[in-house]
């Protein structure tokens, strides 16, 4: 029987079909990684990607090989998931994935985020899957901020200390020599003054508020024996050490030797090469940065200067591998992480060695890897050797603080650095905010 359609029937039908299609599409918004037999997802910012830059390609290859090695031997497969801008705080993908109950099985986090994930019950204890020998192999300074009690909730893959970088051409132009490398804060500000010109900032401290700025500020506080909380978890922010560290950032801007915004949008090699900055507090990753973008540029490195009566200190950053305790197969995920970067097998040790030398230019998180790097002359680059021999021993792991504490510190830094606030007053305000928070805080220790 032939059926005819009126225009109205056709339009009504089309509207109904579109509605159903829309609803179908909505149902497709659910997590695509369902099912216990599906590969475990490893969210990170290295692979798979098709960049041709040598360092990015090496990092991609390293991650692909690490996962490939595991997949060859195990039924439970793992797949790399590349998350663009993973390190950018504006990237909400990881946070929203966890909030919607579809977080990745394995992922990378920095210590700045550790307590938020640990207190939320998102991190699996990896200690039961590790041997004592392997646990002892990790640099305790670095592992400490990933531990709660005897539990280990993340395995560091690298160590990234901070130091002062300086431009040798700018130094020479200002008639300065190696003998002028500052050892104290006052000397640093004095040298910075000589290096400051109409177009060049003599000294750069991070200016953008956020986790990274806090990270760069901590060592200045530690140098004066200060801390955010003491060993009994009592807030100790209102102290001379904190005040003088805040004041250092404030004074550098107020005297005009440090800028209010990052020159060259934070690109250290570019800023040095173009004469926009002469001294910059930054991390070991800049060694690879200079090698990649300004290989012929002459720059130097020296430890962070100290205040009167202070001690030499720097901060050790770096990312750690974590397992989602509420993932689809946490046990397999934990075994993958431990076998890949946390076991005493030669393969695991060599893998971290490759990461710190071939894929990146980092300090090793493990004694066995350090031994291998020394044996294989991996520190033949004088800058890396300097980091290894001089700067690394003064390091302390990046601290972990809950967001409210982090924010109180950030506000104090910003108020003094950018708004010319009184350092002592801001230390008191920060102390009050941290005290109020700690009164009801329940969770992993702040350290």
């Amino acid at each position: 029987m032939e059926r005819t359609f009126t225009r109205r029937t056709l339009i009504t039908g089309a509207a109904a079909t579109a509605t159903m299609a829309g609803l179908g599409a909505l149902s497709g918004c659910a997590s695509g990684a369902s099912g216990a037999s599906a590969p475990l997802q490893f969210w990170q910012f290295y692979a798979p990607q098709s960049q041709s830059a040598p360092d990015l390609k090496a990092q991609n290859d390293w991650f692909q090989k690490a996962v490939g090695d595991w997949n060859k031997r195990h039924k439970q497969q793992v797949e790399n998931v590349f998350i663009p801008n993973f390190t950018d705080p504006s990237n909400t993908r990881l946070a929203t994935a966890f909030a919607s109950g579809s977080g990745p099985d394995i992922f990378l986090i920095s210590p700045g985020d550790f307590l938020r994930y640990y207190n939320g019950g998102a991190l699996l204890d990896l200690a039961p899957y590790m041997t004592k020998e392997a646990i002892d192999d990790f640099n305790p300074n670095v592992l400490e901020t990933r531990r709660v009690g005897k539990g280990i909730y993340g395995l560091p893959m690298e160590v990234e200390p901070l130091a002062m970088f300086y431009s040798v051409p700018a130094w020479e132009k200002a008639h300065l020599s190696e003998g002028d490398i500052p050892k104290t804060w006052d000397q640093m500000l004095d040298v910075a003054h000589k290096l400051t010109t109409q177009s060049q900032s003599g000294l750069v401290f991070e200016t953008v508020p956020g986790y990274f700025q806090n990270f760069t500020w901590y060592p200045w506080m530690w140098q004066g024996h200060g801390d955010v909380v003491d060993s009994h978890q009592k807030p100790s922010f209102d102290s001379k050490a904190v005040t003088q560290a805040l004041d250092l950032f404030g004074r550098s801007v107020a005297t005009g030797v440090a800028p209010r915004t990052d020159p060259a949008a934070g690109d250290v090699p570019g800023a040095f090469a173009n004469g926009y900055a002469a001294m910059w507090q930054s991390g070991i990753w800049q060694v690879a940065g200079f090698r990649g973008t300004q290989p012929k540029f002459d720059y130097g490195v020296f430890p962070l200067p100290t205040p009167p009566g202070g001690i030499s200190k720097t901060v050790l950053g770096g990312w750690a591998w974590c397992v989602n305790a509420r993932g689809r197969n946490p046990e397999a995920a934990a075994k993958f992480v431990v076998e890949t970067v946390g076991s005493m097998s030669q393969e695991s040790i060599t893998r971290i060695y490759d990461w710190c030398t071939v894929a990146k230019s980092d300090m090793p998180p493990r004694a066995s890897v350090d031994k291998m790097m020394v044996a294989k002359d991996a520190f033949k680059n004088p800058k890396l050797k300097y980091f290894h021999d001089v700067i690394l021993p003064t390091g302390r792991g990046e601290p972990r603080y809950p967001p409210v504490v982090y924010k109180a510190i950030s506000d104090a830094i910003q108020q003094v650095q950018a708004a010319g606030g009184n350092a002592a007053g801001q230390a008191q305000k920060g102390q009050a905010a941290i005290e109020a928070f700690m009164e009801t805080y329940k969770g992993g220790a702040l350290k």
Binding site: R8, A15, A18, F98, T261, P263, D411, Q417, A419, G421
Partner: protein
Amino acid sequence: MTGSTHTYNTPASRRAPRRTTPERSGAGKARAKREGWAAFWFLLPDSLGLLIFVFIPMIMAIVLGFFRLDGFGNLSFIGGANYVRMVQDPQFLQSAAVTAIYLVILVPAVFIVSLLLALLVQQRIPFVGAIRSALFAPYVISLVVVGLMWQFLLSDKVGVINQFLAAFGIHGISWLGDPKYTLGTVVVISIWFQMGYYMIIFLSGLQDIPGELYESARIDGATAWQRFWNITWPMLRPTALFVLITVTIAVITGGFDLIYILTGGGPAGSTSLLIFYIYQQAFLYGEYGYAAAIGSVLVLVLLIWSAFMFRITKGGRVDDE
């Protein structure tokens, strides 16, 4: 008092005409029913979209404001604690103040600048089409690109604008790093970005005004100001109202992209608009409940503002007497 029966004398002109045509017969009713169903199916997708993506999230956000929610599935009812925290939170109060200042400066500024531009490009001047396009052009650029472009132009020491000012002996202004200047800088960039769009809206309003009115006024010897005040402005009021409401909503709920790229809410919180603070609380600090509570307050403010505007303008019919 004449009894319990009230009579309403409706003016004949306002009475709806009674339809006594055959359309009210059975065939007419069937047609009306079919049209009703067609309307229902056409409206359904959009209504579902609004329900799922606007109305339900809005209700959920209001409800979440009464909970502590850490972003990992842990939820606990805390009553009005988030609202108490809000009034004790100096950063929230600072963000509210920044938003209020931003609003008070930006809304009139965008309104006046775009109206003046519309009056200008309405004139018969050479290359008026090119001028209109040039003024509208910023609005078609992504806000992220706008932010990056201005960041480049406003760089400390070596930025184009600072180099230009240096030629006049003005040195050392940090447009994006000094709290004295940052909000003003963001306001100016926002005006530059938005003026073209609202200029076009004003222009369409201006072009709807009959030319005969201006001709009569000219014959009567009215000055330019008298023509604007007695013809243009009254005839433009519905458009002006639309611009005022949409600019206000855009200012309160927008601006995030620009702030994020240009200043990151800094320095020292000087550009931390409420919308940016909500984002920080939710996605950087995992304080979803607190962020939802702030969002609810913001929605409430917008509802009150919209209701106020509709009330004083009788639902937008500004010319009805």
